[in-house]
């Protein structure tokens, strides 16, 4: 497997669209998210049309929140998000138990590091999809607002945790990001409290404090979501009546 390894250690190519410059790998991740969002939408839409042709719409009976196909797809995505978060924690615990200097010590450590890195990427792909699906489904409406708010807070906590992880990765990228982003924390007046150049502080935040925050927020979000899983769409619910 090591011989077969594809090197991603050459400089990336970039795409320019006016002021927006984006690397190919990042563009690929965005395309993947859009693909996983639109393809189920198109399939779900086609399936819904098929269902409609077999039924007439009426104002009574059970409401159809979204097509069964999309409903299942969203549930799979929720499970994938949680599963990848568990994998992030599991690989992170192994890395934390061995220390920072272990990160580049051997093929085994490189593999565990890779596992952590790629499960974080998978987690963010699935969590952004989760965010997009629930935004379009108006999951912030009315009684479901606490569920939405807890999700948004958890999402930002995850982003901040991943950012501190990037700072302690021990490469040019982490050095440069630390040097650039320290200006932000200094500019908003918290430079003394939060110093991205202080590897010790960033490491303890990344492996001790933020994981507890992320785990607690995730459990909070899930518990709210499970209590309020009755979904009310923006429009009046459509109802089906079977053709005689």
């Amino acid at each position: 497997m090591i011989e077969l390894a594809v090197s991603l250690n050459d400089p990336a190519r970039y795409v320019n669209w006016g002021p927006l410059t984006i690397s190919f790998p990042n563009l690929f991740m965005f395309c993947l998210i859009l693909l996983l969002f639109f393809v189920p939408m198109i399939i779900g839409s086609a399936k819904l049309r098929k269902e409609r042709s077999a039924h007439t719409l009426a104002e009574s009976g059970t409401d159809l929140h979204d097509p069964q196909f999309l409903h299942r797809w969203r549930h799979i995505n929720n499970s994938v998000s949680l599963a990848s978060l568990i994998l992030v924690f599991a690989s992170g615990i192994v890395m934390a138990s061995r220390g920072l200097s272990w990160l580049y010590a051997s093929n085994v450590s490189s593999f565990v590091h890779g596992l952590h890195f790629w499960s974080v990427q998978l987690f963010f792909v699935s969590i952004i999809l989760h965010f997009m699906f629930n935004f379009w489904r108006a999951a912030s409406k009315g009684q479901r607002f606490p569920m939405w708010a807890s999700g948004v807070i958890s999402f930002f906590a995850c982003m901040f945790t991943a950012y501190t992880g990037g700072l302690v990765a021990g490469n040019l990228n982490s050095q440069w990001i630390a040097l650039q982003s320290k200006n932000v924390f200094n500019a908003i007046g918290v430079g003394t409290l939060f110093d991205p150049l202080n590897v010790g502080q960033m490491l303890t935040l990344h492996i001790a404090i933020f994981p507890i925050v992320v785990a607690s927020l995730t459990l909070w979000h899930i518990s709210i979501a499970q209590q309020r899983f009755i979904h009310l769409p923006w429009r009046r619910p459509i109802t089906l009546e079977v053709k005689e």
Partner: protein
Amino acid sequence: MSRLKSSLRKIFVGDDLHGPAKLYRGTVVALIPILAIAILCAGFFKAPESGQRSLQDWANAAPTDFVLTAAFELANQKGKGSNGPPYNLLDRGQSLGPIDPQAHTDLGIPIDPGNDFVISPLQVSQTQGVYAAIGNFRGLSTDAQIRLIEGFVKGQGKAIDGALGKWTSATSSQQAAWTTSYINALGGKNNRETLEDDPSYGPVKTLTDALLFLAQAGTLDGLLTTQQGPYPSDFTKPALFLGDGKWIAEEAHSAFLDGDRMAVASGTNSFPGQFWLTPYAFWYSVKPFSTSRNADIEVFAILLIICLLTMYHPKIPGLPKLVRFLPFQSLRGKT
């Protein structure tokens, strides 16, 4: 096939389960393919490699930039990353109109660039750094070893003592005159090898050359971190000094990590980065933020607005109704 499909669907989605049980069972099942994908990616692509840049790398790769930056530090010249709160009051920092949090920050990480980055390491090196340099001697390239020997042959150790004494006993205006003269001369030549000594530089050339000597031997990296204790975990000082030079920016540029290319969201080489930060990093590459000296606090304000809008958009009158006009609502059927 259809039986397999329906049983997979049952396991994954669990039509017979509701609420938490459905999610937890789905999660346990999803762990298998997620683990498989992560193992495949980790096996084939691995993780981003190491490759941190040290002060030693900088001193060996771009000695002129190194000594010029050291002279800038001695001159306490403005516009560097190590200026302003919470490090010092050499710069006021950034502000957003009347909102000026940086100016009111306490100096929690006190840094005096000239003393901390140049004078203090040289003073310490006179007693212990030389031994560390000798300890590193074997690990050096032949060129660096030759430079090291040449330094000792020229009696640089004694010269540094004299230069340090001359610098510390001089007035600040005298120090400023020396550094300005040296910076102008070196900036014009852009090559420290061809720059001849001149009395107008005072001790600056000797001091910056000695610092280069320490850095090339690998001693300076340690000297800047061990001031707080023997086993450091805070690399703020060497990182700030490195960040004040041009070389690290050139290195980052060659790896496509500079600000215009959204550094925070970019990954290491061809690895995907923190692509989820693109909506934040994007603002740094558009005007007026790309040219503003207050870009960080301005873009942070935008980020704050984005966060608040994301969170509270259902509470803003009229805004939630816009969602009705989005195309995917139609997937739920017509009213």
